[in-house]
Structure formats: structure tokens, C-alpha cells
């Protein structure tokens, strides 16, 4: 082991590479052994506590041994809609291992994981980090057999790992595959300043959801009095229900890298990073090859296009933390730390990676910027709405005939989208993922645009057979699981929201519990440190506003109900007393009097 760790560190000797180093150790040993922590602490010259806090922060790192086959099943609501619960039970049986456990022989471990970004081809999962799609009984039979035979992943049939693009509707951006280098040549011809003017003219706004004007961000960063600057592409696509960046990086990666290089030329950066979510490990080698090819073709590295530009891009993999999609948490993660959002100001454009001015943009933003560099600002601004220029690429999943990728001009109505993807009998749509809003069937004339429904691209459709509270329950658990725990309102509040939702959904709620729920929502929303906490209550708030009766109907007609399962709380006592008679059980309420 010493040699293995020594070998990795020789290639990555900086503490900023801690995540990448830990990924390799986890992958080799299926946990991070104590000796490795000790050794890394010495080699990287960082306290062991920093290493432990990173291991305990990211879902894909473990201090105790996981199975040689680490199997994770995606817990997105879309996976549930495709029968995930039944499959998980089937898997438990087939592999003889319970969820959350390692099989005694150490061969396999099974657990849940947050949305893996395969909502259009679920139920999905990961085996040793590699994406599995279209899980069903027959593929599980096959997987169980392969695991029990301890076949290396390289010998597993490739169809288990097949990931499709599913592009069903192309527009301005997806219709046009730029020739490699076209955008950079355009910048060279037009001029750097003039290109920024075109991007400004295009009206391009950040595609991650917040919608900050791209040209303005780049301008601010370029004006900082610093010599070192960085470009970061945020491919930590963790919002459940979104998977467009996966497709863009699979099929349009060259153009995304080109957009980053255009940005580097404009702001004067020499180093860029693609922060790729750990769940997209399957794309890693392909992307490395594209970067290598671009270097060979003089489009990356030193003296790009003989124009004297120096810029290179490094790919950094995440390790299972939704919060790293928040730009300052992402930067912390790039620096080899736990992904805890920073206090702002200062913003990343003034103090980002290693304290230097940094532009962080979404994958789609860089893709659009490359196209704008070639085609000009007017080309992009000619479509869309007044405040939302151009197109938006959507990830559509849930109850529809054709889930996948759709590109629309901004201003498109929900109704049009539902028609195009073949959705019937629709109850409502979750726009923008769990942190967005739930739209009821009374609102299908609403438009996707920053001035109405702003979205990072997640679009999950629910038909009338679905139970809205199941969805809210899933989303609320998601946020509690993904809260970084830094600030009180989110750390405690998201767990309290989870408890309160469970109480109501499980039928233990009584009069006053919905009011208490709403009050708690406002507290978490108004006082949390970052966007995660500020939006964690949205699933409850947006459905409570539209379907108050759904919540009220779950309440008991009594004035008070204990907030926990009384009988369940006695379980430990029963075990210790070795009793299970009637006298050792309690009814939740005085049933006879009240019902």
C-alpha cells in the first residue's frame, strides 16, 4: 500500500489534488485505510484532520471497507417512478446483501446514491463508479452472476454500461457542430475585445439557473488587478432530473472546451478546470483524449494558434456531493477540501481558485459562448425573449413517451414541451429540479424564461397516477442528505423538514403540523448560507401553495399526536428486556376513544 500511495502522490504532489488522490485509493482498496491517511498527511504536508474531513464529506469516500464491487442505485424520483424500489429489493435478494451493508465475504456492497443523471434511461446505478442504465430483473440477474463470479468490470458486457444521448429536439446550438478550432479562429480574426462585445450583444446569461450575464462576469474578472486567473467549467450536474451536460460532454465536448478557451483568451487565464461530477466517470477517458487531441492540434497548451495564447485544461472528478455545484463550494473542492460554500463577498470573479480571479460557468454556457464567437451576438439574440436570449437545453424525464434532450428558444410554453415529448394525462411538472418549482396542470401556459420559470434544465413530468407527497418526500430527504452542515438553519432545518414531512406522510401529523411545517420552511429559506438551504423548502412550499388539501388530508382529526412512533421507540427496551408481549407495546394514540 505504501508504494501505491507513494506512486500516486509522485504524479499529484499538491494538496489541491487530494480528491483525485483519494479517488484512486478508494478505487484500489474500496476504502481509505488509516495508513494511507497517515502517509498522505506527511507527503502532502496537511493535517490528517483535513484528509478525514474530506473523506467524511464526500459520499464516494469511505473510512471503512466497502465491497470489491461497490454497487450504488440512483435514488432520484425518476428512478422510483421506473420501479427502483422493487429492483432494490430484488438486488438485495439476488446478491444476499442489505442496502447500506457489505456482504460478509467482502465481495459486494449495496447502497443508495443521489440522482446519477440517467433519468431518461433509468433505473440507474453505479458499479465502482461506472454508470449502469436501464436496470431491470434480467440485467440484475446478469450483474449478480458477474459479481458472484468476480469478473473484472472490463469483462462485463458493454450493453450494461450503454449510455444514450437521446437528443429528440435540436435548435440553434445542437444543430451546429462547430469545426474544431472554429471559435478560436473567429476570435483571432475579430479580436478579443470585439468578441466580448459580441457575447455581450448576444445577451447570454449563465445556464446553471441563476442567469448572471456571462459577458459581465468575464469583464469583471478581466478587470481584476491580478496576473493569475482561472476558468472553471461546472460539470457537477447534480440537480436531480438534469442530464444535459452529460450529453453535451459526450457529443459536443470539443465545443465546450473551445468555449473555455475563448473565455481564457478574453480574461487572460492560463489554466482551466473541468469539474466533472464523479457520477460521470464513464466520460473521463474520452474527455482526456479530446484534450490531448486539442493539444496536438495547437488548440490547447502553449502558443495556441500561434497567437501567443497559453492555456490548458485539467479534468477534476468530484466524489458525490450535490453542494459542489454551488460555485464557491466547487472551488473549495477543486482546492482539495470539503465542498463548503464560502462567505460572499468576495465573489469568485475577484477571489476564486487559490484566491485568484476565477470565472465559473456552466457547460452549456461555454458551449453557447463558442457558438456566439463564430456566429456573432445578433445570431443568438435574434431568438428567445426580451430578457432571455437564445435557447435553453432541457433534460426531460418522468411520465412521457420520449424522455431525453430538447432544445427550445426561451419563451416556450410548458404545454408545447409536454406535447413534443409525448406526455398525456399530466398532473404537473417539476421545473428546475427539486430546488425549482412544481407547476400544476392549471399553469401549462407559463413560459420557460428568466422572467417566468427560470430553470437549469431539469423538467420532470408527473402523470395523474402519481402521488405528489411521494415526490416531496423524496426531494426533502435529498436535501437533508446533501446539506453540507455548515450553517445552523440548513444543517438542522433540512433534517427537521425531513422529520416533519415523514410525520405527515406516515399519518402521525395532527392539527397545527402543516402550519409548523410552513413556518420551518420559511426559516430554512430565509436564513440559510447558500442556495441549497435557500431552495431546500421549495418542494414543500410550491406544492403546499397549490395543493393545501393534500397535506391537510393526511392529518389526524385529533388535537395532538406524538411526533414520533411511540411503539417504535420502545424497540431497544424490548430487545434489552427480551420481551415482546402485549404489555411491552404501546398504541400511538388512544385508538378506541378517537376513532
Amino acid at each position: 500500500m505504501r508504494q501505491f500511495v507513494q506512486g500516486i502522490v509522485e504524479n499529484n504532489h499538491q494538496a489541491t489534488h487530494l480528491l483525485q488522490i483519494l479517488r484512486q485509493i478508494q478505487s484500489r482498496f474500496h476504502y481509505i485505510p488509516e495508513e494511507a491517511i497517515e502517509q498522505l498527511s506527511g507527503l502532502l504536508n496537511i493535517p490528517r484532520t483535513q484528509i478525514i474531513s474530506v473523506i467524511e464529506f464526500y459520499s464516494f469516500f469511505h473510512l471503512t471497507r466497502r465491497g470489491r464491487y461497490e454497487l450504488l442505485i440512483s435514488d432520484s424520483i425518476t428512478d422510483h417512478m421506473l420501479g427502483k424500489k422493487d429492483l432494490l429489493g430484488y438486488l438485495e435478494n439476488k446478491l444476499a446483501v442489505a442496502v447500506g451493508e457489505v456482504r460478509p465475504d467482502g465481495v459486494v456492497s449495496l447502497d443508495n446514491t443521489s440522482c446519477t443523471g440517467m433519468c431518461d434511461q433509468g433505473p440507474a446505478g453505479l458499479v465502482n463508479g461506472y454508470a449502469l442504465t436501464h436496470l431491470d430483473h434480467s440485467s440484475i440477474d446478469k450483474i449478480a452472476e458477474l459479481i458472484n463470479q468476480q469478473k473484472p468490470l472490463s469483462e462485463w458486457p458493454s450493453e450494461l454500461f450503454q449510455v444514450d444521448d437521446n437528443i429528440h429536439k435540436s435548435g440553434l446550438l445542437l444543430n451546429q457542430q462547430l469545426e474544431q478550432g472554429a471559435a478560436l479562429k473567429a476570435v483571432l480574426t475579430r479580436g478579443i475585445k470585439e468578441t466580448l462585445t459580441e457575447i455581450d450583444k448576444s445577451g447570454l446569461r449563465g445556464r446553471g439557473g441563476a442567469g448572471f450575464k456571462t459577458a459581465m462576469k468575464w469583464q469583471f474578472c478581466s478587470e481584476e488587478q491580478q496576473t493569475e486567473r482561472y476558468v472553471v467549467c461546472n460539470a457537477d450536474e447534480g440537480e436531480p432530473g438534469t442530464f444535459k451536460d452529460r450529453v453535451l460532454l459526450n457529443t459536443y465536448a470539443d465545443q465546450v472546451f473551445e468555449g473555455m478557451t475563448v473565455c481564457a483568451a478574453i480574461i487572460g487565464a492560463k489554466q482551466g478546470f473541468l469539474y466533472l461530477r464523479g457520477e460521470y466517470l464513464h466520460l473521463h477517458d474520452k474527455l482526456q483524449n479530446i484534450l490531448e487531441q486539442r493539444r496536438r492540434n495547437g488548440l490547447l497548451g502553449t502558443n495556441i494558434l500561434d497567437a501567443g495564447w497559453n492555456f490548458d485544461i485539467e479534468i477534476c472528478l468530484g466524489a458525490g456531493a450535490y453542494i459542489c455545484g454551488e460555485e464557491s463550494a466547487l472551488i473549495e473542492s477543486l482546492e482539495g477540501k470539503a465542498g463548503i460554500p464560502r462567505n460572499r463577498p468576495p465573489y469568485p470573479v475577484t477571489q476564486g481558485y487559490l484566491g485568484k480571479p476565477t470565472v465559473v460557468n456552466n457547460v452549456e454556457t461555454f458551449l453557447a459562448a463558442a457558438s456566439i464567437a463564430v456566429n456573432g451576438g445578433d445570431w443568438f439574440a435574434s431568438i428567445g425573449t426580451e430578457k432571455s436570449k437564445g435557447t435553453k437545453i432541457l433534460s426531460i424525464s418522468g411520465d412521457c413517451a420520449r424522455p431525453g434532450i430538447y432544445e427550445y428558444p426561451f419563451g416556450v410554453t410548458v404545454q408545447t414541451i409536454l406535447h413534443d415529448c409525448g406526455a398525456d394525462d399530466v398532473l404537473g411538472v417539476q421545473v428546475g429540479g427539486p430546488s425549482g418549482s412544481f407547476i400544476s396542470d392549471q399553469e401549462f401556459e407559463r413560459k420557460l424564461a428568466f422572467e417566468d420559470l427560470a430553470t437549469g434544465g431539469s423538467f420532470i413530468i408527473f402523470n395523474t397516477s402519481r402521488n405528489i407527497l411521494d415526490m416531496v418526500h423524496n426531494f426533502t430527504h435529498f436535501f437533508a442528505h446533501e446539506s453540507c452542515g455548515f450553517c445552523t438553519p440548513c444543517r438542522v432545518g433540512t433534517s427537521l423538514l425531513q422529520k416533519q414531512m415523514d410525520k405527515i406522510v406516515e399519518g402521525h401529523g395532527s392539527a397545527g403540523d402543516v402550519v409548523a411545517l410552513e413556518e420551518l420552511c420559511q426559516l430554512v429559506k430565509n436564513y440559510s448560507h447558500c442556495g441549497l438551504g435557500q431552495t431546500a423548502a421549495n418542494p414543500i412550499l410550491t406544492t403546499l401553495e397549490r395543493y393545501p388539501d393534500l397535506y391537510q388530508n393526511r392529518l389526524k382529526e385529533i388535537s395532538y399526536e406524538p411526533g414520533f412512533d411511540l411503539d417504535g421507540a420502545l424497540e431497544t427496551a424490548r430487545r434489552m428486556a427480551n420481551r415482546d408481549d402485549a404489555g411491552a407495546h404501546l398504541a400511538q394514540i388512544e385508538v378506541n376513544e378517537h376513532e
Binding site: T49, Q50, I52, G485, S495, N526, H529
Partner: protein, 256 residues
């Protein structure tokens, strides 16, 4: 002309580089806080010092003061919500004030009194947390940790060590210490380290000093935390110092 902000209508001068909290403390205005101590880099995690600036909530301890800011602090809404945030800190841990050595000297308890907190409001979590009594002179009772990171910062910034760190995610956040065994006895902590004396609650205690100051004669037994805090910041005559500022000394006797 010097730059000013207003807090609840009162005009307050500030210098460039000061946060709203810095300006407020210098001007004798108390904003409730637990994770903040002026001598350390602000953390901004407890959120008790949330104020409303030009219509937007932000943490006074991290947000820079800027000319012309209209800051609201003692509004009914903010006071009510600060109380709820304090209640959150109580329910996520195991805080039993009557049996805690820190009672009367505890800032969490004192803030709760200041905000007139009379119950827990939220359901209790009853987390299963350990006590680390391995060290000869210092103990950690994890039941009382509120993750303010003051010990983490004091250890790094004053003691020049790295004894403490926060680890884990979400509600599983916990304090860890820098030793292979995970025990305090195997760290390089010293009883005279500032990190040992900075804890606002009873999570880090010095052994064999319990009850040297009787209950009833402790810092917050007769004075509200706002008065003590302002005295400590130097803007008021010093009556008593919180234990955090009395490193290596006997706990000061309370003078009425």
C-alpha cells in the same frame, strides 16, 4: 467625512475593511452571535447574527460594512427567528443545562435567555454522541458541540496547532481531533491552549475546575450576554470577562 451605516436607525461610523459586526461592536450595539469572536477570522455559520441589509438577509459577522447601508437588527421578525435558530442548536444536540458544568458561563444558554427562549419548539434529535475523557486535563463532551469552529480557529490561529477540525456532512457534522486514535490524549493539545478555553458551550472543559465558581455567581447569572459581550469588546467598562478572554487565569469572580 467618515463613512456611516445605520443599525435600526442609529447612525454608526465604520472604517473600510470592517464588517457590520465590527462596526456594531465598536459602537456599543449588540447583535447576538455564537460562532464569532473578533480575534478570529469570521466563520458565519451559526447565523444568529443575521441582519437585514437593504432588504436582504446576511450575516453581520462576515458582511462588509458599506457606506449608506440600512441595517435592521432588532425587528420582531429577526428576534423571533434568532430564537428559532437557537432552538435548532438546542434540539440537534443534548443540552441539559441543569446538569452541565458550564451553566451560567455558557454562551448558548445566555443567548437563549437573551432571546427569551422558553422551550425547545422543535422535536429533539437525541443524537448518540460520545464523551472523550481520555486526556488528563481536558475533556470533550460531544453532546454539547454546536460546530461553531471557534476551537478549530483558535488552535490554528493562536496556538499554532491543528488539534481540532469539523468533519462529516449535514446533520452528521462532528468535531474531530488530530490523532490516529481519534482521542484527545494523543493530540498535542495543552491545557493552556486558547482552543481549550474558547468553547461557547460546555463541549470542551478543563478537568478538576468544575464548580470552582458556584452556580449563581457565574458570568451570565446576573448579567445579560449583550452587556458582557460589549464589555469584552472594549466599548464598555470591563465588569467581567467571558472565560474565552481569561485564558490561563482563574475564572474571574463575578462582581455585582
Amino acid at each position: 467625512m467618515s463613512k456611516t451605516i445605520t443599525i435600526d436607525g442609529k447612525t454608526i461610523p465604520f472604517e473600510d475593511g470592517q464588517t457590520i459586526m465590527d462596526a456594531a461592536m465598536a459602537a456599543d450595539v449588540y447583535i447576538p452571535h455564537l460562532c464569532h469572536q473578533p480575534e478570529f477570522t469570521p466563520h458565519g455559520s451559526c447565523k444568529l447574527c443575521t441582519v437585514n441589509v437593504n432588504g436582504r438577509n446576511c450575516s453581520a459577522c462576515t458582511f462588509p460594512a458599506m457606506d449608506g447601508q440600512d441595517v435592521l437588527s432588532e425587528t420582531k421578525e429577526l428576534i423571533d427567528d434568532r430564537k428559532k435558530i437557537t432552538q435548532m442548536l438546542f434540539v440537534e444536540g443534548n443540552h441539559f443545562c441543569p446538569s452541565c458544568e458550564k451553566t451560567g458561563n455558557c454562551q448558548l444558554q445566555a443567548v437563549a435567555y437573551h432571546l427569551n427562549m422558553l422551550d425547545n419548539h422543535f422535536p429533539l434529535f437525541y443524537p448518540d454522541r460520545n464523551v472523550d475523557a481520555s486526556h488528563a486535563e481536558v475533556m470533550i463532551d460531544h453532546n454539547r458541540c454546536i460546530f461553531c469552529a471557534l476551537c478549530v480557529r483558535a488552535s490554528q490561529q493562536t496556538d499554532g496547532k491543528n488539534v481540532f477540525a469539523l468533519s462529516g456532512r449535514g446533520i452528521h457534522k462532528h468535531l474531530i481531533v488530530n490523532a490516529e486514535s481519534g482521542l484527545l490524549k494523543d493530540t498535542d493539545v495543552d491545557v493552556n491552549d486558547q482552543a481549550v478555553h474558547i468553547c461557547p458551550t460546555g463541549a470542551i472543559l478543563v478537568k478538576r475546575t468544575g464548580y470552582q465558581v458556584p452556580i449563581g455567581e457565574r458570568i451570565y447569572d446576573h448579567q445579560q450576554i449583550d452587556q458582557v459581550s460589549l464589555a469584552a469588546s472594549g466599548s464598555r467598562p470591563v465588569a467581567t470577562l467571558p472565560p474565552s478572554l481569561a485564558v490561563g487565569k482563574e475564572h474571574p469572580k463575578h462582581g455585582k
